[in-house]
Symmetry: C2
Subunit: 406 residues, 2 copies
């Protein structure tokens, strides 16, 4: 790579899929001039064993750092996972056992290796340093941080205002993950926009421990198939990295047209210019939204399963949904959240309708049959470990097996 190519690659790294770089000019200078590999921290929260396509966004940024000669340092949060990241949710969750954490982390790392070269990655476990962490270390770590700043933190402030409990041990989460930056001597930390608070705390804690504060790069979060919340397995709005081609394809086809922009930029291998071109072509009427979405769905399947699998998934989807050629034998296995799923999500997820509102309209018109009977409850719920036959009008049908997520 010559100097010009390097500059182009650095500028792409600093802009594509990136939400914020705290000191952009300084990080650019470091990337262009440094004669040693930068240590690029990325925290792994091993509380869920299955990754979704949203995880591909930071992985792809780490790959770009790697391609410029830098070193991703994965920090497996086997200690903080026993707390759980308060950014992730609105209530305190039960602590995981060390065994669960370790098993989840191994699955995580296998999927990480689909994008980033594991041979040029340093993997560290928090327990390396936190196993020996005593009260004196905790005092030093906590004393650099005020209670006022902690309760101003958005997720805590929200839960306090709502009266939902925040357990005191959750306040350790940002401090401990920040200390990881000290332990591994991070030059840069990468994370989602929901990690901005934690990443900034890392800078303070490094300063308290006599280190140069790390640079910070955040990436945009992928919105889930529901079009509302951040993609998350536990919300049932996710497409798994290792889901079979047809599920990935049908799941992508179920998203709303409005979500196309977010997805085209984040989960494809396209440049911003390529994504812009496709979206502009839809806006001008040149490309039909469905055709654009099919191109997106093909790209996603191709990325994780290859071009051939993508074409096969598309052909199957066309057959099942557009032409209604669904045989009793071709069952769809469908992963749902532990607390079940309602009818509109089920029908959209199975690729039998385009939106929740369409499903509700079809039910009102008497056009939806479950196991042969006309369904009248628009919001009927389905639990896991069941199998149902769904028919929409006369032409569309699917036999769906419901499994629990994870």
């Amino acid at each position: 790579m010559n100097a010009h190519e390097k500059e182009t690659a650095v500028d792409a790294l600093l802009s594509q899929r990136v939400a914020q770089v705290v000191e952009r000019d300084e990080l650019r200078r470091m990337l262009l001039s440094t004669d040693r590999p930068l240590r690029v921290k990325f925290g792994v929260d091993p509380t869920s064993p299955d990754l979704h396509i949203g995880h591909g966004v930071p992985f792809e940024r780490l790959r770009a750092f790697q391609d410029l000669g830098h070193l991703p340092v994965l920090v497996v949060g086997d200690t903080t996972a026993q707390i759980g990241d308060p950014s992730e949710r609105n209530s305190t969750r039960p602590m995981l056992s060390p065994e669960q954490v370790r098993a989840n982390a191994e699955t995580y790392l296998a999927q990480f290796g689909l994008i980033v070269d594991p041979a040029r990655t340093e993997v560290r476990w928090q327990s390396e340093w936190f196993g020996q962490f005593g009260l004196a270390d905790i005092f030093k770590l906590m004393s650099g941080f005020t209670l006022a700043r902690m309760i101003e933190r958005d997720t805590f402030a929200k839960r306090l205002a709502e009266g939902s409990p925040v357990s005191m041990h959750e306040t350790l989460y940002p401090l401990l993950q920040a200390y990881d930056s000290v332990a591994i001597q991070a030059d840069v930390e990468l994370g989602g926009t929901d990690q901005t608070f934690n990443l900034l705390v890392g800078r303070d804690v490094q300063r308290d421990h006599g280190q140069t504060p790390q640079q910070i790069m955040t990436v945009e979060l992928l919105v889930g198939t529901d079009g509302v919340q951040k993609m998350s397995k536990s919300l049932g709005n996710a497409i798994g990295l290792t889901d079979p081609p047809y599920e990935q394809y049908a799941g992508t086809m179920s998203i709303s047209d409005e979500l196309m922009d977010n997805w085209a930029r984040l989960v494809t291998r396209w440049t911003d210019a390529e994504a812009d071109a496709l979206l502009a072509s839809v806006a001008s009427g040149e490309t039909h939204p469905k055709a654009a979405k099919q191109r997106l769905a093909r790209e996603i399947v191709a990325r994780w399963h290859g071009e051939e699998a993508a074409q096969a998934a598309e052909a199957e989807w066309e057959r099942r949904v557009v032409q209604g050629e669904v045989s009793a034998g071709s069952a769809i296995a469908f992963a749902i959240p532990p607390d079940g799923i309602d009818l509109p999500d089920l029908v959209v997820g199975a690729g039998l309708a385009a939106s929740r509102s369409e499903v509700r309209r079809l039910v009102q018109q008497g056009g939806v049959r479950i196991d042969g009977k006309v369904e009248t409850n628009e919001l009927r719920r389905f639990s896991a470990d069941a199998a149902v036959e769904i028919r929409i009008g006369k032409r569309k049908a699917a036999h769906v097996e419901l499994r629990t997520t994870g």
Copy 2:
């Protein structure tokens, strides 16, 4: 001790100088019926080496437990002292070194032995259990407590409202001292009313760790010689347990008449009935307030130095103050806070006037001379390591050496 005597002693223990007993009937039942010694926890904050007469109040309660056959368990806060008790102050203070803490604790224990029998006391150091405390222990301890409850705590709420910083490590203080109750398997915990929050947390933490929650007994706090704040060496309003007889006597004579009630009940060996009788006799005009205060001052000196020393101190005070017979040779050594002392406190503290307002009036009348010159600044400040000659009118004088506290 027969059954009736025991019941009388238990009722005295539960009422004299006691502010609150959380489950009074239950503790009374335990004290009357138990066939094993109760473990009575008392936390020692070894951040200040010198104790004042206010510390005598809980010590005397511990002695009463001891006389009923129970076991005081002193917990020396050598770990939490590195944080400092947030109840004690309005701002975060620097951490003490382990060496300072240990030296202070030894001085503390020597003074404790003036009232409580050390041979029938168990002394434990927090470092016995906290030395090995790891993050998993901390998680368990903190997870039982919410952020909402922590920020509602009066001292934290006040500092947060004022915008003065509360460091995160201070939030560990109540939790760690509460864990002490688990470590020593406390049946009862004794403390000042300012410790009520901490003592209640002890009950919760014991419950979280599968123990029966301790009973709680709080004692009233002694107001300092200023008549305003809780007695504290660092506020310069204290009479030290080991201060010489004359200083104790003159310090007591300097308190306001209003403070007599608080002091007569808390720092004497008198029963409530005896204190009531003295106060009633003052109220009825039968006893002059000055005579009553002299009786109080004699009792305090006698308690810590014996009857003979009390009489000698009274004689000296009469000579110096009432008769003005102060020779240049009979200097008063006077301990003042690090930031100095103002004229009214100095004159009252030296036993040359009864109140700050009297001193200010005397200055306005031109009746106060410092080192021979008429003083016009009512609030002139004096710093340590100086010696001044004070004259009040024609008859009262003292040569005062100013030393730093501690």
